[in-house]
């Protein structure tokens, strides 16, 4: 019996010891990073700064390999190395929120209007304000970027992130399955508005019973001449506004007429009856059983679409190219508020956005392993490229990346032209601070989720549902929110002479 007891205490002691050792290890590791960090800061530029960089995308097999090459290069250039950490698209926002809130050490991180929300987190203090750093170490960035990028991504008058130089405005196009266009000899050039699409849809509906004439998902929203204060909430100003009056979308004639058209299309069977719960029509694209849909475009997008579907896709514009807040903030890299080496981080970002060698190494990997050069600024993927396939648009200046073998030589010229063609949307540079009305926003958001998809896709009758939704929006406090937006907008106009 006493032996038993002894062995029991032994078990417990071991367990305890394990716990203690584990925690001891933990604190030791902690101390380790701390000393390293403070050491780097203390002795100006002698020791190499080690930057931690979190960015979005599926982690790549050869990342460590490429990272090593990158470090050789950056160490020589700016005496800094980076530790690149990739987090999957779907996990990025949540994981970054937790890490930022807990004060995890990091230096550079990806942010955008659609992942780890830039404006929100800038306001909450996750990012370092970089006005001065840009001046000091980011001259290259200022030179290469279209000024609208830095202007449009200001939050309360300051910059908190470096936008990637890529397509600047957003333009919607109607995409067509070209095989069907050819088969019925349809004239797509005359299409622009929803109404002008109808005769084509009718032809397809009558002749191709298996084809979905207008392939939509639940997020669809008819194109209307508004600049929305918050994406997909019913507060907006007219795109051609002079007085910057914020209107309730549900009280505008534009919405009424757009939804009447949608309803007509829905009842005519041009749209899938289940559109209000459909999240993806990939199966239609794959099987080619669709005729048209609407998408955001960028130069040469037709080629990319055609290549990925395996049959020709043609497009025609559905509206003009406008530069919105969200299109400016489509892809940015910010410096963490708790960065130990903000200056080095900015130097690195500057290099990333101006130096083709570094930029292409980050994007395409190692020459000779992942790709080979077939011209001055052209490259060809090697079989190993599948082990290092990065989301190009998220990693800085797109316009200095090498062209793929099939790209036309003037690809980046086309991008520049496209960027210059963009019209500034009225709210460009204005970012609403929702703190004071967060309670109302939460309620409004719930009302929106309830009615939006079924209304916007024509699933329900707008004649009754617009009024119903509007009533519920008002009960949720939409008017309070609009009033708050208006007062912030007026203040912003006064400050910016708009």
């Amino acid at each position: 019996m006493s032996r038993k007891r002894k062995s029991f205490s032994l078990v417990l002691t071991t367990l305890l010891a394990t716990t203690l050792v584990v925690s001891a290890c933990g604190s030791k590791a902690d101390n380790g990073t701390n000393t390293a960090g403070s050491g780097g800061e203390g002795a100006s530029n002698e020791p190499t700064a080690e930057l931690i960089w979190y960015t979005i995308g599926v982690p790549q097999k050869d990342l460590a390999l490429v990272n090593e090459e990158i470090n050789k290069y950056t160490k020589e250039k700016i005496n800094a190395t980076v530790d690149i950490k990739m987090i999957d698209f779907g996990d990025y926002t949540q994981k970054m929120q937790v890490m930022a809130a807990s004060g995890e050490p990091m230096d550079i991180m990806f942010t955008a209007s659609w992942a780890f929300d830039y404006v929100q987190n800038a306001r909450k203090g996750a990012f370092m304000e970089i006005d001065e750093l840009l001046e000091k170490h980011g001259q290259g960035i200022k030179e290469t970027l279209d000024p609208a990028f830095l202007e449009g991504s200001k939050v309360d008058g300051h910059n908190y992130g470096v936008p990637a130089n890529k397509e600047l405005p957003a333009q919607e196009v109607w995409r067509f399955n070209d095989e069907l266009v050819k088969k019925y000899n349809l004239d797509i050039k005359s299409v622009r508005s929803m109404e002008s699409l109808e005769p084509l849809l009718k032809t397809i509906k009558e002749n191709e019973p298996d084809v979905t004439p207008l392939a939509l998902v639940k997020d669809f929203m008819p194109l209307m001449p508004f600049d929305y204060v918050i994406e997909k909430l019913p507060m907006a100003v007219y795109l051609d506004t002079k007085d910057y009056k914020v209107v309730n979308l549900f009280e505008t004639p534009e919405l009424k007429s757009a939804l009447d058209t949608m309803r007509k299309f829905y009842q005519a069977g041009y749209i899938s009856p289940e559109v209000a719960t459909t999240t993806s029509v990939e199966d239609l694209y794959k099987s080619g059983k669709w005729f048209t849909d609407r998408a955001s475009t960028q130069p040469l997008a037709e080629n990319l679409w055609s290549a990925s579907y395996g049959y020709p896709v043609t497009t025609t514009p559905a509206g003009d190219a406008y530069t919105f807040n969200w299109s400016v903030m489509g892809s940015m890299q910010a410096i963490s508020a708790n960065s130990e080496h903000p200056e080095k981080a900015m130097e690195f970002l500057n290099l990333l956005n101006t130096d083709p060698v570094l930029r292409n190494m980050v994007d395409s990997g190692i020459e000779g392993t992942h790709y080979e050069k077939i011209g001055d600024n052209k490259m060809k993927n090697l079989p190993d490229a599948k082990n290092y396939d990065m989301p190009t648009f998220s990693l800085g200046n797109l316009l200095i990346t090498y062209l793929n073998e099939n790209d036309p030589d003037n690809k980046w010229e086309l991008f520049k032209e496209f960027n210059e063609s963009g019209i500034d949307a009225p709210l460009l540079g204005f970012n609403f601070d929702a703190t004071k009305v967060s309670k109302e926003i939460a309620a409004v958001q719930n009302v929106k989720e309830e009615y939006w998809s079924s209304l916007m896709t024509g699933t329900v009758d707008p004649a009754t549902y617009i009024a119903k939704a509007n009533e519920k929006f008002k009960a949720a406090g939409l008017d309070t929110v609009i009033a708050e937006v208006q007062s912030q907008l007026d203040a912003w106009r006064a400050a910016n002479n708009k």
Partner: protein, 305 residues
């Protein structure tokens, strides 16, 4: 032994008509549970193009192993994930069974003066928690477990729900008389526990072990939070990442660059289903190991004598 079995049959058997009814009841329910899973297997073996054309079919017109080929392309990544999952599950279950078995035994004993305090101490954590960020800080900064295998094991090691269940098992299936008899024999609390209580509570322990095995096997959230190192990603987490990536990208498909670039390499329906099959398959075979304790019960006589 044979005799005991025979005797048990006599007083423990259902009449034939009722046996048929019971079989039908359990059988139909079981079938309804298995059916969707069979469906998963079928979809994973369907040709991708056929799936797009015909939708889900019980007997697709074209079969294909493409999906599995696609998943196995990653080769060592998949194997390593299996390794991580199996290690975490085995070690985690052992640790968690030890912690929980001791804790719940102590609070099941009436002679333990602080049993109510410690019961409440455990129970309270079922209702209140500090939320994601504070837990994250404890694990990464206080315990320093970030990017270690322990960050997949320790956060799931103890669970008040299991403690409460096991406590009830002890107090119902182990009569006080047995514990008293142990005392009379001169065994200490610990000796009584090991020699008399544990063998009698095997069904309960097996239940907790099973739950915790499944918990570890199915966990993906801790990996999401604490693991950056691709070599430490468990299987379910791999599966979950594919799912959430796809959903996220579809939700943001109006973003042109994201839609164009990210969607092109996303696995298709069939490969995702193949992942489900691969991630669930092995654990189904581990199941019978626990099952014998709560289907056949104990040969109680053997323990008592």
């Amino acid at each position: 032994m044979i005799l005991a079995k025979k005797k048990q049959r006599d007083f423990h058997q259902l009449s034939t008509p009722w046996n048929v009814v019971f079989n039908l009841f359990a059988g139909i329910f079981a079938f309804l549970c298995v059916f969707p899973f069979l469906f998963v297997v079928i979809i994973s073996l369907t040709d991708e193009g056929t799936l797009a054309r015909e939708g889900y079919r019980l007997i697709p017109s074209e079969w294909s192993f493409e999906a599995y080929k696609y998943v196995f392309q990653t080769g060592d990544t998949l194997l390593r994930s299996y390794g991580v999952t199996i290690f975490v599950t085995v070690v985690g279950t052992i640790i968690s069974l030890l912690f929980i078995a001791f804790y719940s035994y102590a609070i099941s004993r009436k002679s333990f003066k602080y049993r109510n305090f410690f019961s409440f101490f455990a129970f309270f954590t079922m209702l209140f928690n500090g939320g994601l960020v504070p837990t994250y800080i404890v694990v990464t900064q206080l315990l320093g477990l970030k990017d270690t295998i322990w960050s997949l094991i320790l956060p799931l090691a103890v669970n008040a729900f299991y403690i409460m269940i096991l406590r009830t098992f002890y107090s119902t299936s182990v009569p006080d008389a047995i514990i008293e008899s142990g005392k009379i024999d001169g065994a200490g609390e610990f000796g009584t526990f090991i020699r008399l209580v544990l063998p009698l509570s095997l069904p309960g322990l097996a239940t907790i072990a099973l739950f915790s095995t499944l918990g570890y096997w199915n966990d993906w959230f801790n990996a999401l939070l604490y693991i950056d190192n691709p070599n430490l990603v468990p299987l379910q987490s791999m599966l979950m990442r594919i799912e959430t990536n796809l959903q996220f990208i579809l939700q943001n498909s109006q973003n042109s660059s994201l839609g164009l670039e990210a969607l092109r390499n996303m696995p298709q329906d069939t490969s995702r289903m193949a992942m489900v099959v691969l991630a669930t398959g092995p654990i189904i075979f581990a199941y019978p190991f626990f099952q014998r304790y709560f289907i056949q019960g104990l040969t109680v006589g053997a323990v008592k004598e």
